[in-house]
């Protein structure tokens, strides 16, 4: 039997070892291996000393490219930039509410929720950028091969993550087909990663969802019958938007200029050199670069010039948010629909215009 001093010595050694190990993990390490030294593609602005906390999501668009290449850090070397991952747009809105972030990526549905009662009382954000227009990236996958049309889903169970852009697209598609979302179909709230299990067990007949679950369901014998590209064509587009808190955007115009320039650069890279952009997206999302390039096909990317115009940030987006609000009210996601000018207050084409001209 070991004597007591030896035991105490062993215990002390264990404690010291664990404390020294603890020093090895720095919590603040950025979430990507720094890409081979990125130089700012234009002259860096060294006067910017803003502290910016950015919420990002695992979406294959320009924001992921900006994050991976460290464009913001390279072009504003004296700014203090930190990134925090959010699981969904609703979480980004929550982070705004607890004042944990200054900028964030979210879908157009959460952005509308944040601009309507009651959330608009705690959160004051504005949409400054459209990261992408959602197309085939979110689509309706059905299990039964005989169903070729959304009206074939009468009496069936459709799974969708509530309060997301996919949810909004599904409701729009049902309404356009003349179906009542509360009576003709059973729409259930399910998180994407839980869908393959329910699909396998025949507990759901269809799902409106994005990758990687979308590809998984397609592999499992599902068929795509509708996508957000179709609902966008029918006049109900959904977007992934870049937002900033109004206070931050007003107080840091130079930061916002650099930020939008970086986003514009990323959009051009996706259009001109998709392989390189796909590699950055793959690192950030933890997927294969080939998959990332494929996923680019499901989204439409807009340059700063395209966005700043009346078709998007310059006018149409406000209307889209307003229409979205109408549907969200029916779903009980918001308490009241504001006026169109209320929503216009939350869309700011300024930074995009500056990037387009500068």
């Amino acid at each position: 039997m070991k004597s007591r001093p030896t035991r105490t010595a062993a215990a002390l050694a264990a404690v010291t070892l664990s404390m020294s190990l603890a020093g090895c993990v720095e919590s603040g390490r950025s979430s990507t291996t720094s890409a081979p030294d990125t130089d700012c593609p234009w002259k860096p602005d060294e006067s910017v000393t803003t502290e910016a906390r950015i919420a990002w999501q695992a979406v294959p668009n320009g924001d992921a490219v900006v994050k991976d290449l460290g464009l913001l850090e390279a072009c504003m070397p004296n700014a203090d930039i930190s990134w925090v991952q959010a699981a969904a747009g609703g979480d980004v809105v929550k982070y705004y509410g607890s004042d944990d972030v200054d900028l964030g990526l979210m879908g157009s549905a959460p952005a509308t929720i944040a601009s309507s009662e009651p959330v608009v009382e705690d959160v004051d954000l504005s949409v400054v950028w459209i990261h992408d227009v959602i197309g085939d990236a979110e689509s309706l996958i059905v299990k039964d091969p005989t169903i070729t049309d959304i009206s074939g889903l009468k009496g069936k169970k459709v799974a969708v993550p509530f309060s997301s852009t996919a949810h909004y697209s599904l409701l729009q598609a049902l309404a356009d087909a003349g179906m009542d979302a509360t009576r003709d179909v059973e729409v259930i709230n399910l998180e994407p990663e839980k869908m393959p299990g329910a699909w396998q067990g025949d507990q759901i007949d269809a799902a409106w969802v994005w990758d990687p679950v979308q590809s998984q369901l397609l592999e499992d014998g599902g068929e795509r019958i509708l996508s957000s590209a179709d609902t966008a064509e029918a006049g109900r587009p959904t977007f992934d938007v870049g937002t900033a808190s109004q206070e931050f955007a007003e107080g840091n115009p130079e930061f916002m200029t650099q930020w939008t320039k970086a986003q514009d650069y990323a959009v051009r890279m996706i259009k001109d050199d998709p392989a390189a952009a796909a590699e950055s997206v793959a690192v950030v999302l933890g997927i294969d670069p080939a998959d990332a390039e494929k996923q680019f096909g499901g989204l439409t990317f807009l340059t700063a010039e395209e966005q700043a115009g009346p078709d998007y940030l310059g006018g149409q987006l406000t209307e889209d948010l307003f229409t979205t609000a109408g549907f969200l009210l029916e779903q009980g996601e918001i308490e009241a629909v504001g006026t169109e000018s209320d929503y216009a207050d939350h869309v700011d084409p300024g930074p995009a215009k500056a990037a387009a001209n500068g």
Partner: protein
């Protein structure tokens, strides 16, 4: 007058290498097999489990998405601990998962639980002492019971709203999970202190403080240490709940993120690491108990 000689232990007892109560139970039936045999049993059962797992996946009885093979889990584990290219043939090298090695995720979670349980010990023991010896006990016990029965996943959202998405909310969750068992075991330990021992030391002229340090604390130490073991085990099971939001670095956060991305092999690798860490933590605390309370069971 009387001679006390250490009784000669029979051959069978001499083979025992684990601590046992000694001569007083010499006549008792052998309760635990010797260490070598115990180790052999564990190794054999783990090997049998791995074999069964491998057979099930090899026979294709379950889809790889739901149950990856042991080989796939091992690959995910190795990849998470190394610098690897993002895809075969790519030039871009990434570090581990989410830019941290798996062991770094584990250490980050252990850091949080160390602070959480440490704070729970620092607050729980004095509060337990107060509650066990004064009227505060009757007042606060229902609140303590209420806190103990709350599922952590239910109030993590509230903690994030109050304390933000940084480490503070996570450590608060671990603290709230670990605090009730420690306080309650302290109270129960105090209630179990022998009145004779207290009276004996009082009759020798001890002050109230000396009663506390010389009798009450050492007597309650066994129960307190058990409470700490239970608290640490329970807090460790809540580590995934704590790291749901902004959980990187963190083994729970990595398990959750991997689950969202349908990377089942990585999820299972994280779960195995979490389980092994729990076993090691428990072993460590058991050994701490043997060091600090060697008289347990022998008094």
């Amino acid at each position: 007058m009387t001679q006390t000689t250490a009784p000669v232990r029979p051959q069978s007892d001499r083979n025992r290498t684990d601590t046992d109560p000694g001569p007083s139970s010499r006549g008792a039936r052998r309760l635990r097999p010797p260490r070598a045999r115990r180790l052999g049993m564990h190794v054999a059962s783990v090997a049998a489990l791995l074999l069964l797992w491998w057979l099930v996946t090899r026979a294709g009885l379950v889809r790889p998405l739901y149950l990856p093979s042991p080989g796939a889990v091992w690959d995910a584990f190795v990849r998470a601990n190394s610098d690897h290219p993002i895809a075969a043939g790519s030039d871009r090298i990434v570090r581990g998962e989410q830019n941290y090695y798996l062991w770094e995720h584990l250490v980050a979670s252990l850091q949080r639980i160390a602070i959480g349980v440490g704070a729970a010990v620092a607050v729980g023991i004095p509060l337990g002492l107060l509650m066990g010896t004064t009227w505060l006990g009757t007042l606060l016990e229902p609140y303590l019971n209420f806190l103990r029965s709350l599922p952590p996943l239910a109030y993590i959202g509230l903690l994030i709203v109050w304390f933000g998405i940084g480490d503070t909310s996570k450590i608060w969750l671990l603290f709230l999970a670990a605090f009730p068992p420690i306080a309650m075991s302290t109270i129960s330990g105090i209630r179990g202190v022998h009145q004779d021992q207290v009276n004996a030391v009082l009759s020798l002229g001890a002050s109230r403080r000396q009663v506390l340090t010389a009798v009450v604390l050492p007597a309650t130490l066994p129960e307190i240490l058990t409470g700490i073991r239970v608290a640490t085990g329970f807090a460790w099971t809540t580590v995934v709940a704590a790291e749901i939001a902004n959980g990187i670095p963190g083994i729970g956060g990595l398990a959750y993120l991997a689950g969202e991305q349908l990377q089942s092999a990585l999820v299972i690798a994280c779960i195995v690491v979490i389980g092994l860490a729990a076993i090691l933590l428990d072993l460590g605390l058991k050994n701490l108990e043997k060091v600090l309370v060697p008289w347990r069971g022998k008094a």
